[in-house]
C-alpha cells in the first residue's frame, strides 16, 4: 500500500510539472487544447492526492505500523477519532494535507472559471501547478509520508496527548484551507499581471475564493484559540506564540485585501496596492507553514528537527522576487483610473483601514521575528513577550473597531457633513449612553482602554442595527412585506453588504470578549488539601475530594490513569461543581519500570470550564503524585515479572491509594467575564462571511443567462 502512496506522489509531481508546461505552452501559442490539457492535469493531481490521502488514512485506521508515520503518531489504543487526525500531527502528513487541499481548491476554481478569463487562467493554472509541484517535490525528495519501516513494530508510539482534543480534528485543516485558499487569488493576480489585464476581472473571478480562504483561516484561528483555552492548562486563548502570530498575519493582510479590492472594483484605484497585498498574503501564508517547520523560532508548535526549512526559504524567496519583478515591470498598466476626491470618502476610509491592518501586521511581524532582528542588530538574542504585544496592538485594535463602525457610513467619493451627522447621530448617542451606564453601574473605569473598547463596540453594533432597520423599513414601504420577510429579503438581495455588516458586528462582539476578559479576569493559583477553600474572583471554591480512576477518562482520549478533584464553587446563591482532572499516559521509555511507566509518561490537564454568557469559571488541577513514588518503586521491584492482569490490579491499588489519602494538589482557577462572547462573536463573523460568500439568486440567474447567451451566439455564428 505504501508503494501506491509513493507512486501517487511521484506521478502527482510529474503531472503538476506537465500542467505548468502545457498551460504555458497553450498560453504562448494560443493552443486551446494545450490549455485544456493543462487544466485537466490539475484535476488529475487532485485525484492523485485524494488517493494518497485515502491510502495514508486507511493505514492509520488499520494501525499498519509498517508505515513510519503510523508507528510514530498512532497506536492500537489511540481512539479511532484521533487515529484519523494523527495524519496532520506530523510534518510529512501535514505536507500531504497541504497538497491535497491545494489541488482540490485549484481544481474547483479552474473548473469555475473554465469558460471565462481565457487569457489569465492558463497562467494562473501554471502558477497553481508550480505551487502544488513544490509541495509534492518536498514530499518526494525529503519528507515522504509513505516511508516504511523495515521491521514493523508491534505497537506504535501513540498520538501526542496534547493533540487529543476535538478541535484538533478541524483546526489544522481549517488553517491549511485558509493558507491554501489564498494561493488562488495570488495565482490569478500573477496571471493578470503577466497578460497586463489589470482591471477588476481577476478580482471578480477570485473574490469569492479570497473570502472563503479568509473565512477558513479566521475559523481556524478561532478554533486554535478555543483549543488553547479549553485544553492547555494555562487558561488563556492567545499567547502571541510565533506560530499563532504566523496564522494571524496573513489573515490581517487578507482582511485588508478583501476591503481594498472593493475600491478597485468601484473606482479602479489602488491597483499596485491590491496586487502587493495578495502577494504579501500568500507569502505570509507560506511563512506560516514554514515557521512550523523550520524551528528558527522557539514555539510550542514547532515540529522536531526539520529537514525542509531551507527549501521553504528558497521557495519563499523565489515567490517574493518573482512577484516584485513582475509588479515593477507592469507599473504602467497598474496606474490608477481615478483620484482620491476627498479624505471624507469611503475610499479614504478603506485606505486608512488598510494602513491600520498592515501596520498591525508589521508590528506583529516585528515582534515575532524580534529574536532574529535583535541578534542581527546587537548580537544578543532577545525576545519581546506578550505584554509588549498587548501594549502595541491595543491602540491599533481600537482604531480598527472605530473604523468598522464609521467606515460603512461614509459614502463613496465625497461625504457631506450633514449626511454623516444624520447617519452617525444615533449610534454615537448609543455609545455615549453605554459609556455613562458603564461608569455608573460597573467598575470598568479601572481599565480606560477596555472602557473605550466597550464604547466602540456599542458604536459598531448600533450602526449595524441602524442600517438593518433602515434598509428593512425602506423595503417595507416598497413591498409592504412584514418585518421578518423584509429583513430576510434585504439581506439576501445584498448579501455582500449585509454579510459584511454582520462580520463587523461579530468582530465587535469578539473584541468585547477580549477586552473584558483581559482587563477584568481574576486568576488564582493555590495549593490545597481536600476540605480547604480559596477565593477566585467572586467565587468561593472548596476542594471537596480527590478523584482517581483507571481507564475511565471522561474526555475519551484513551488515557489509562486519571487523577482529579471535585471542586464546589459558590457565588452568592449559585453553586457549581467542577471536576478538573489530569490524564496520565504511559511512558514509552525503557528506563521506566513496568508499573512506574504508567505514572511517568506524558500528562495533560483536562480543564473544566463552566461556560456562561456573563462569566466563565475555569479550573485546572495538578495532582502531586510524588508521594506515590515509594509505592510505585516497591511495586516495580515486586511485580516486574508478573502477568499483565496482576500488574493492572497493582496499578489500580496505587491509584486507589491516591483517592483515599491525597496529598495537597495545585489548582488554578480563573474567573473570566464575558469570555464566551469571543466564541459567539467569532461564530457571528463566520455566519456573516458565509452570507457574503453565498451566491445570490440574481448572480446565479445572470450566470445562467450569460451562458445561454454565449451558447446562442456560438450557434448563430455557426449558422
Amino acid at each position: 500500500m505504501a508503494g501506491l502512496g509513493s507512486a501517487c506522489l511521484l506521478v502527482g509531481l510529474l503531472t503538476a510539472v506537465y500542467a505548468v508546461c502545457a498551460s504555458l505552452h497553450g498560453a504562448r501559442s494560443g493552443s486551446r487544447a494545450a490549455v485544456v490539457s493543462g487544466r485537466r492535469a490539475i484535476y488529475c493531481v487532485a485525484g492523485l492526492m485524494v488517493t494518497a490521502t485515502v491510502v495514508l488514512q486507511s493505514a492509520f485506521l488499520r494501525s499498519d505500523f509498517s508505515f513510519k508515520l503510523v508507528a510514530e503518531g498512532s497506536s492500537t489504543d489511540t481512539p479511532t477519532f484521533y487515529k484519523f487526525t494523527a495524519m496532520w500531527a506530523t510534518q510529512d502528513g501535514s505536507l500531504l494535507l497541504w497538497a491535497l487541499l491545494m489541488s482540490l481548491f485549484a481544481s474547483a476554481v479552474l473548473f469555475a472559471t473554465r469558460r471565462s478569463l481565457r487569457d489569465i487562467a492558463p497562467y494562473a493554472t501554471a502558477v497553481l501547478g508550480g505551487i502544488a509541484g513544490f509541495f509534492l517535490l518536498l514530499m518526494v525528495g525529503w519528507e515522504n509520508p509513505f516511508t516504511t519501516l523495515a521491521v514493523a513494530p508491534v505497537e506504535g508510539a501513540g498520538l501526542n496527548p496534547l493533540l487529543r482534543h476535538p478541535a484538533m480534528m478541524i483546526h489544522p485543516p481549517m488553517l491549511y484551507t485558509g493558507y491554501v485558499g489564498f494561493a488562488i487569488p495570488f495565482a490569478f493576480a500573477i496571471g493578470a499581471l503577466i497578460v497586463r489585464q489589470t482591471g477588476a476581472d481577476w478580482i471578480r473571478a477570485t473574490r469569492r475564493f479570497a473570502l472563503i480562504a479568509w473565512t477558513f483561516l479566521g475559523a481556524g484561528i478561532m478554533l486554535g484559540a478555543l483549543w488553547s483555552y479549553s485544553e492547555l492548562g494555562w487558561g488563556g486563548y492567545w499567547a502571541w506564540d510565533p506560530v499563532e502570530n504566523a496564522s494571524l498575519m496573513p489573515w490581517l493582510i487578507g482582511t485588508a485585501f478583501i476591503h481594498s479590492i472593493m475600491v478597485q472594483e468601484k473606482r479602479g484605484m489602488l491597483k499596485v496596492w491590491n496586487v502587493s497585498l495578495i502577494v504579501s498574503t500568500f507569502v505570509l501564508a507560506l511563512l506560516g507553514t514554514f515557521l512550523v517547520r523550520s524551528g528558527i523560532l522557539d514555539s510550542i508548535h514547532a515540529f522536531g528537527a526539520s529537514t525542509i526549512g531551507k527549501q521553504f526559504l528558497v521557495f519563499i524567496a523565489v515567490v517574493i522576487m518573482g512577484s516584485l519583478a513582475l509588479i515593477v515591470s507592469r507599473l504602467d498598466d497598474l496606474r490608477s483610473e481615478a483620484k482620491l476626491d476627498s479624505l471624507m470618502s469611503r475610499e479614504a476610509f478603506f485606505l486608512v483601514n488598510n494602513l491600520v491592518l498592515v501596520g498591525l501586521c508589521v508590528v506583529i511581524f516585528w515582534g515575532t521575528f524580534f529574536p532574529l532582528i535583535s541578534e542581527a542588530l546587537s548580537g544578543d538574542e532577545a525576545s519581546v513577550g506578550p505584554p509588549w504585544f498587548n501594549r502595541v496592538t491595543t491602540p491599533l485594535a481600537l482604531v480598527l473597531v472605530a473604523l468598522a463602525a464609521i467606515g460603512p457610513m461614509v459614502p463613496w467619493r465625497r461625504a457631506s457633513r450633514s449626511g454623516l451627522v444624520r447617519s452617525l447621530r444615533l449610534p454615537v448617542a448609543v455609545a455615549a449612553i453605554t459609556l455613562v451606564a458603564l461608569l455608573a453601574l460597573t467598575d470598568s473605569a479601572d481599565s480606560p482602554l477596555a472602557l473605550v473598547m466597550f464604547c466602540f463596540v456599542a458604536l459598531v453594533l448600533a450602526v449595524v442595527v441602524q442600517e438593518l432597520a433602515r434598509g428593512t423599513a425602506a423595503r417595507r414601504t416598497i413591498t409592504g412585506d412584514p418585518w421578518p420577510r423584509a429583513l430576510g429579503q434585504l439581506i439576501s438581495r445584498n448579501r455582500r453588504r449585509y454579510g459584511g455588516y454582520l462580520v463587523h458586528a461579530g468582530i465587535a462582539i469578539l473584541f468585547l470578549g477580549v477586552a473584558a476578559s483581559s482587563a477584568f479576569q481574576e486568576q488564582r493559583d493555590v495549593r490545597l488539601s481536600p476540605g480547604q477553600s480559596f477565593e477566585a474572583g467572586g467565587y468561593d471554591i472548596t476542594y471537596v475530594r480527590p478523584t482517581a480512576e483507571v481507564g475511565r477518562d471522561s474526555a475519551g482520549t484513551g488515557a489509562p490513569i486519571t487523577f482529579g478533584a471535585v471542586l464546589r464553587a459558590r457565588r452568592g446563591d449559585e453553586v457549581q461543581t467542577l471536576r478538573p482532572s489530569r490524564n496520565y499516559y504511559p511512558s514509552q521509555s525503557s528506563e521506566a519500570g513496568p508499573i512506574g511507566r504508567f505514572f511517568e509518561g506524558e500528562a495533560t490537564s483536562e480543564v473544566d470550564v463552566r461556560w456562561g454568557l456573563r462569566r466563565d469559571l475555569w479550573a485546572a488541577v495538578r495532582p502531586d503524585i510524588a508521594e506515590l513514588e515509594p509505592a510505585i518503586r516497591e511495586a516495580d521491584a515486586k511485580f516486574a515479572g508478573s502477568r499483565d492482569d496482576v500488574q493492572a490490579i497493582v496499578i489500580a491499588a496505587i491509584v486507589e491509594r491516591y483517592r483515599e489519602d491525597a496529598p495537597p494538589a495545585t489548582f488554578r482557577a480563573i474567573d473570566s467575564p464575558l469570555v464566551s462572547w469571543i466564541w459567539i462573536g467569532g461564530a457571528i463573523m463566520i455566519l456573516g462571511a458565509l452570507i457574503a460568500i453565498w451566491p445570490s439568486p440574481q448572480t446565479r440567474l445572470r450566470r445562467v443567462t450569460s451562458v445561454y447567451a454565449a451558447r446562442l451566439g456560438k450557434e448563430l455564428s455557426q449558422a
Binding site: N160, L162, W234, A302, F370, A382, V384, R527
Partner: protein, 134 residues
C-alpha cells in the same frame, strides 16, 4: 493651496508619521525585550537586577519539589555548565528532565530566581524524537 503642493504636504505628513511610529516600535521593542541566555553566558557575567530569559536543558535527576516550589538545574544545550533555578507556579505539561526549557528571571547569588509562571517547555511535538532515542 495648489493641489500639487497639497499632495506633497500630505505625503510629507504621512511619511513623518510612519517614521515616528516605526521609531516608537523599535524603541519599545528594544526596551521591553529580555535577552535569551544560556547558563554559561550568565556564569561568564550577568548584570545584577537585570531580567534574563534562561534557556537550556533540565539536568537529569536535578528536579526537586518542595510544596509549590520547584528547584532544578539548567545546563547549556550542548555543554556541561549549569545553573540552579528556583521556580514557583504552574509547571507546563511537557516539563521533564532532559527537555529544553525557557524560564525568565534574575540571577541572585548564583541562583537563578525565576518569575512566577514563566516556565515554558519547548516543542512537545519533539517528544516522539525523545522516545526513539531512549
Amino acid at each position: 493651496m495648489d493641489p500639487r503642493r497639497k499632495r506633497k504636504l500630505r505625503l510629507f505628513v504621512a511619511l513623518s508619521a510612519a517614521v515616528l511610529l516605526a521609531g516608537a516600535l523599535v524603541y519599545t521593542s528594544f526596551s521591553a525585550s529580555t535577552q535569551a541566555k544560556q547558563p554559561s553566558d550568565l556564569l561568564a557575567g550577568a548584570e545584577q537586577g537585570r531580567s534574563y530569559e534562561l534557556t537550556g536543558k533540565v539536568v537529569k535527576d536535578s528536579v526537586d519539589k518542595d510544596g509549590d516550589r520547584l528547584t532544578f538545574r539548567i545546563r547549556d544545550r550542548d555543554g556541561r555548565e549549569s545553573l540552579p533555578v528556583t521556580y514557583a507556579g504552574v509547571v507546563p505539561d511537557p516539563f521533564r528532565e532532559g527537555r529544553e526549557v525557557i524560564v525568565s528571571g534574575q540571577l541572585e547569588q548564583g541562583t537563578f530566581v525565576a518569575e512566577r509562571d514563566s516556565l515554558i517547555t519547548k516543542c512537545p511535538s519533539k517528544f516522539t524524537e525523545d522516545e526513539q532515542s531512549t
